[in-house]
């Protein structure tokens, strides 16, 4: 990862490369400048956490990286692909191919069982039903949820729901997993279990991970932590050691 010009490894293409990203929300006469020139490079296989106070812009950054929202200014390259002025169809295809999402509130489809929820990204890749159900069962098995495959989300515990969501994020073999407070709705034991799973996936499958969190012990389990304050990256910490202080 690098944050400044000149530190970039020219032989290796970053998985995520954003420079001078700005985002302003306009509601009526009010303008809210949420991101104020974010520069960030994340290499493939890195596991990064993003911390910051509420309203600092960390979720907005995650949404822009997830092509769920557009940036107003700056440049965003995902695996070398320029993300700019994409139509909805193209954006959906890129999300399906490159990205997996894990949300604080799980965001499972309430009337679909665990297996159907996990299989959903494959449905949009036009994988045949039999095949995608079999793959979904494999992923649920990896999460220790095979017996719960035919249960609806409201029949699962918080930890189980999040594991279903992780399985769903993984099933499309994404390059990047974006997790927005993945442990925010879980107790501390379950939170650690979920982090164990994410860490293992990161190590074994070399999937790049960006985790937005409020919890210090969650961020400590990632390789690096980015702190965002008032729409700007103010600090980057590596293995509990500050590698740079942007504000200083």
């Amino acid at each position: 990862m690098s944050c400044c010009p000149g530190t970039r490894d020219l032989n290796r293409l970053p998985m995520i490369d954003i420079s001078n990203i700005h985002k302003t929300y306009i509601t009526g006469n009010n303008k809210l400048h949420v991101l104020k020139g974010i520069n960030l490079k994340i290499e493939a296989g890195e596991m990064i956490s993003v911390m910051g106070a509420s309203g600092s812009g960390k979720s907005t950054l995650l949404n822009i990286l997830g092509i769920l929202d557009n940036h107003d200014h700056g440049e965003y390259l995902l695996n070398g692909i320029k993300i700019e002025h994409l139509n909805e169809r193209k954006a959906a295809q890129l999300r399906n191919k490159y990205l997996g999402f894990v949300f604080q509130s799980f965001n499972l489809v309430s009337f679909k069982n665990a297996a159907e929820n996990v299989a959903l990204p494959l449905y949009y890749q036009n994988v045949k039903r039999k095949k995608r159900n079999a793959i979904a069962m494999e992923y649920l098995d990896r999460m220790g949820l095979k017996e719960w495959a035919h249960h609806l989300p409201n029949e699962l515990s918080g930890g189980q729901k999040q594991r279903v969501a992780i399985a769903r994020a993984l099933i499309g073999k994404p390059k990047v997993i974006l997790a927005d407070e993945p442990t925010g709705a879980l107790d501390s034991v379950t939170s650690q279990e979920v982090m164990d799973i994410l860490t293992e996936i990161n190590k074994n499958e070399n999937i790049t991970m960006l985790i937005v969190t409020h919890e210090l012990d969650i961020s400590r389990r990632t390789q690096k932590t980015i702190r965002i304050t008032d729409g700007m990256i103010t600090e980057i910490v590596k293995n509990e050691k500050i590698v740079m202080n942007v504000m200083s």
Partner: protein, 412 residues
């Protein structure tokens, strides 16, 4: 667009919202049900009125002699016009494009007998073409022919009720036997059925007009001239009738505008008038029916709109996971078409069923019979349902496609 997966998705959504789907479908089913009942009733009314036209070619024109009611060229009103064979020949030679033509003589109700069986029947001397003009169906033997006319044969075609009344028991077959008409024996050459209204039509006897003029001493008098207009257009048929009127007016010196000198029954004109009336009624019914269906469609559209609103988060999740706008539009529209189509068919089947029930249980009357919904109505309703479903789903689908995943995922 119509994959099994999509159907499964729709099934899951419907299963989740059973009551809402039922109520939505009910509105459409009711609309189609009402449309079918209205159209079927319209058909019943039309069939009833058409029944009134039976017993004669739809393109037939009958001209009977009457009494003048307008002074013309110094001649007084109240003059009785008497047609003769000469008029028949004049009409035959002057009008162009007719199909069949016949003269008729009215002998009225005449005592007819077979041995000891007697009855009063309407004896109608005519030319052979009258069988065609009157749309008579010969059941046994034949109708009159040109040889009968030329040779003034004493032959008769009798209605099936005449046979039933005069030929009973062992002697029930009339063909080749003789009946006495006003004391003159006529050989029965045919038994016919007339599809005209009432029993009287079946109680007729047709004999050659030339024979009747001779044996009953009516000289060359005739009472009616009738002809069919073939494939002529309404304008051409009108021209033929105009020409016939002018010919007769000239021949008998009465005003062509005198409404009572001759009595005209123009069936094609009546049929045209009724067809125009029923076309209007049909259009009116479709307008009401479509109006009812539109109310149903608005209902479906409204419910789909609410459904899309309720499913905003789900749609957001789907989009985050890779659903394209086209797949979301397809999902919503297919659901709307499915609900509209299925419910509409239920309404269609119930409507057709009720019409069948009415048709079977209600005695046919002069003005309402056989209320039916024919294949073209069913096909029309099917096309209408698909269009209606697509229309009902279009706006909600566009709204769903326009949902931004980021906003949808924020929804609680």
């Amino acid at each position: 667009m119509f994959s099994i997966d999509r159907w499964q998705e729709i099934y899951l959504t419907i299963r989740k919202n059973k009551l809402r789907t039922f109520l939505t479908g009910f509105a459409v089913a009711w609309g189609i049900f009402m449309l079918i009942i209205l159209l079927g009733s319209g058909n019943g009314l039309e069939n009833g009125v058409k029944e009134q036209f039976k017993g004669g070619a739809m393109n037939g024109i009958w001209i009977s002699s009457g009494v003048t009611s307008v002074q013309y060229k110094g001649l007084k009103t109240g003059r009785e016009i008497k047609f003769t064979d000469q008029d028949y020949k004049l009409i035959k030679n002057s009008i162009k494009g007719y199909d069949r033509i016949s003269a008729r003589l009215f002998l009225g109700n005449v005592l007819v007998s077979n041995k000891n069986e007697y009855g009063n029947f309407f004896v109608s001397p005519s030319h052979p073409d009258y069988g065609y003009i009157k749309e008579i169906k010969v059941l046994q033997g034949r109708f009159l022919n040109q040889i009968d006319i030329r040779e003034c044969r004493k032959v008769a075609a009798i209605g099936e009720k005449v046979q039933a009344q005069l030929f009973k028991g062992r002697d029930s077959i009339a063909l080749e036997k003789y009946v006495n008409i006003k004391g003159v024996p006529f050989k029965v050459i045919g038994i016919f059925r007339d599809f005209g209204r009432g029993d009287d039509e079946q109680k007729r006897i047709y004999i050659p007009i030339t024979t009747a003029q001779k044996v009953f001493y009516t000289s060359n008098v005739i009472n009616q001239i009738s002809f069919t207009t073939g494939d002529a257009s309404p304008e051409e048929a009108d021209a033929m009738l105009r020409k016939a009127k002018q010919t007769l007016a000239r021949s008998h010196t009465f005003s062509p505008d005198d409404p009572r000198a001759i009595d005209i029954m123009n069936k094609s004109e009546d049929v045209r008038r009724f067809n125009a009336l029923f076309a209007g009624i049909r259009m009116f019914i479709w307008i009401i029916g479509i109006g009812t269906i539109i109310a149903g469609i608005v209902g479906v559209s409204n419910i789909m709109m609410i459904s899309v609103k309720e499913r905003t988060k789900e749609i957001g999740i789907r989009k985050a996971l890779g659903a394209t706008p086209a797949s979301i539009i397809g999902l919503v529209m297919q659901e709307a078409i499915m609900i509209t189509g299925f419910a509409g068919y239920v309404g269609l089947v119930l409507g057709v069923g009720l019409l069948e029930l009415i048709s079977k249980s209600m005695p046919p009357s002069d003005f309402f019979r056989n209320p039916e919904a024919n294949l073209s109505i069913a096909l029309g309703a099917t096309v209408l349902l698909i269009i209606a479903g697509a229309f009902a789903g279009f706006f909600p689908a566009m709204k769903a496609a326009g949902i931004r995943p980021i906003e949808a995922l924020r929804e609680e």
